[in-house]
Symmetry: C2
Subunit: 116 residues, 2 copies
Amino acid sequence: MPRAATTTDAFNAIAEPRRREIIDVLRGGRAHAVGELVKRLRIPQPTVSKHLGVLRRVGIVSVSRHGQRRMYRLNAEELKPVHDWVKIYERFWTHQLDRIKERAERKATERTADKG
Amino acid sequence: MPRAATTTDAFNAIAEPRRREIIDVLRGGRAHAVGELVKRLRIPQPTVSKHLGVLRRVGIVSVSRHGQRRMYRLNAEELKPVHDWVKIYERFWTHQLDRIKERAERKATERTADKG
DNA sequence: CGATTATATTCCCATATGGGAATATGTCAA
DNA sequence: TTGACATATTCCCATATGGGAATATAATCG
């Protein structure tokens, strides 16, 4: 089995830095034409189109035709699974107070560990 | 250019679901032997070892020898870049009140857009 | 119509992948 | 030493990748 396709899910899609850059530009909520992204990011047009294709298949962006242009808009909710997963680890690098919770929870976990 | 190596950064490393599972098991803070992970996740030992190798090269886990076993421990801080990036999008799927902030910020962004 | 602009698609290629199977390495115990 | 156990490594392969270059598609304009 090779590596999972980039279009498998958000995790795979955002692994590519240029796709994250595209997402960042689209963050404002406003739809952007491909040409705008090309200019902003200084990435060749076919490359941008391909990356947008991946993001679209995953559902992270959606397109609409507007005359000659295709307007891409962010569907940020598709990033929620990534946030949900990584958020759990937030406490590992945040402040003092959370460390207490962390330790307490670890104890509880160890107590119930290796039951299966 | 092929896809970036899985060992490039945390984004690439966590794209693989089994590696996320491993991280999840290590979440308690306690170090785990490879064999424990094999049993818990029902994944062949060589596969687990390879995934641990990737995670180790990225710095997400660290190893220590303890007799015959190698104990793997989570270094969750390495996940912070992922959290930092995705956290910005949290407001897109959270409650009502944040939507106000969102709209306000969008207006401000649009005002200063396309200056470069 | 033809020309221009905007975007997508195709073709090419070097490359890393994840899994399976087999094997190597390392460590303990008798 | 031998054998059992724990883990890592190697070899194999089908496959998707991202980029470059070239080209196709599609819409607008004159």
